[in-house]
Amino acid sequence: MTSPDELRDEQLVELCRQGQRHYFDVLVRRYMEKAFRIAFDFTRNTETAKDLSQDAFLRAFANINQFDGRSSFYTWFYRIVVNLCLDHARRRNRVAWESLDRITEEAGEHKELADSTFAPDQQAIASEAKRRVDHTLETMPNKQRTAFLLRNHQGLSIADVAKVMKTTEGTVRVYLHRAVAALRQSLLETV
């Protein structure tokens, strides 16, 4: 007999639709890390990312009958996560990603940025670079940021990013290029 973990997403969705709710738990286990990572990339806050990604699972389950199967489950689900994150960002309506104090505090936690093998001036430059990248990501238009985070951080193909964002692949390419250009510009200003 096939284990639930071996079932494809669409099979699990179909079983959920038939009232076997516990099969949705398999989808939770399968996508919880990715959902959390997306939410964290948008919010940079562990608790908020946890709440938003869990909320995405609740919404996906509540609307499981609306999933028409034209796209894959994960693009449908990613869209729910991204929309929740963007709604959250709009509600907060703030310009800065984090306060300067918090950035300074976290700079010590990011070992890749503040590596002890580097001289203090290099560490300072790395911290500043990180701060600028974070700030640029936070302040860039939502569509560019979404395209960049989904492609660069989540590893979705441009075709899948286009499905999540409900736009064309050409448009995603433009968003991606603009996002990379903006990030590159912010790093150029650092050095």
Binding site: F24, D25, K50, F57, N152, I158, R173, L183, T190
Partner: protein, 186 residues
């Protein structure tokens, strides 16, 4: 971002292609074209090297302990169960209901309806006629005025009839004239 070195500028016409080339999103033709250009352009090679060095670091995220994911999973499943319970609380009643209970409930409901109709038949007036004491005073006052206006209309009609009779005295016999006189005096 470990090495925050100055970034190389790419040839303008190849910059977007190089970003897509880095992500492996160029078509075969574009890949060949970009590859040929890269073999002879140090600036674009430097730009691509920068992308390969920086973009993966931006995507790097903190590793969370397994206990975090265990807790996350348990919480999410619990929330799903709560949501499911809220949405379908009535479903819990179904397994408790035996099959014979459905017609039994229907029969009881019909019996209650019939008894209600039979015994409540003579008392329908209590639902349709409102007791006078419950009628507001404003409406009662309007009712008195209505009676007044009705009696005024009656008197006016009588006056018109009398006027018509006076206009046709020749058509009336002396007997009927007496009658009119008696009516007028009355």
């Amino acid at each position: 971002m470990k090495n925050a070195m100055p970034l190389q500028s790419a040839c303008k016409e190849f910059e977007e292609d190089l970003v897509l080339y880095y992500y492996g999103e160029t078509s075969d033709d574009d890949s060949r074209r970009v590859g040929q250009h890269l073999s002879g352009c140090l600036r674009c090679q430097g730009f691509l090297d920068d992308l390969q060095r920086l973009l993966p670091q931006m995507a790097r995220s903190e590793e969370l302990p397994q206990s975090f994911w265990d807790s996350y999973y348990r919480e999410t499943v619990a929330k799903l169960a709560q949501q499911d319970e809220r949405q379908h609380w009535w479903r819990s009643l179904i397994p408790q209901m035996k099959i014979w209970m459905v017609p039994a409930f229907g029969t009881v409901a019909m019996a209650v309806l019939v008894i209600g109709l039979l015994f409540g038949k003579g008392n329908l007036s209590s639902f349709t006629v409102r007791p006078a004491e419950k009628i507001p005073h404003e409406i009662l006052a309007d009712e008195n005025q209505l009676q007044f206006f009705e009696s005024m209309d009656l008197l006016e009609s009588l006056g018109k009839l009398e006027a018509q009779d006076e206009q046709k005295p020749e058509a009336l016999s002396p007997q009927s004239g007496r009658v009119r006189l008696q009516t007028g005096t009355a």
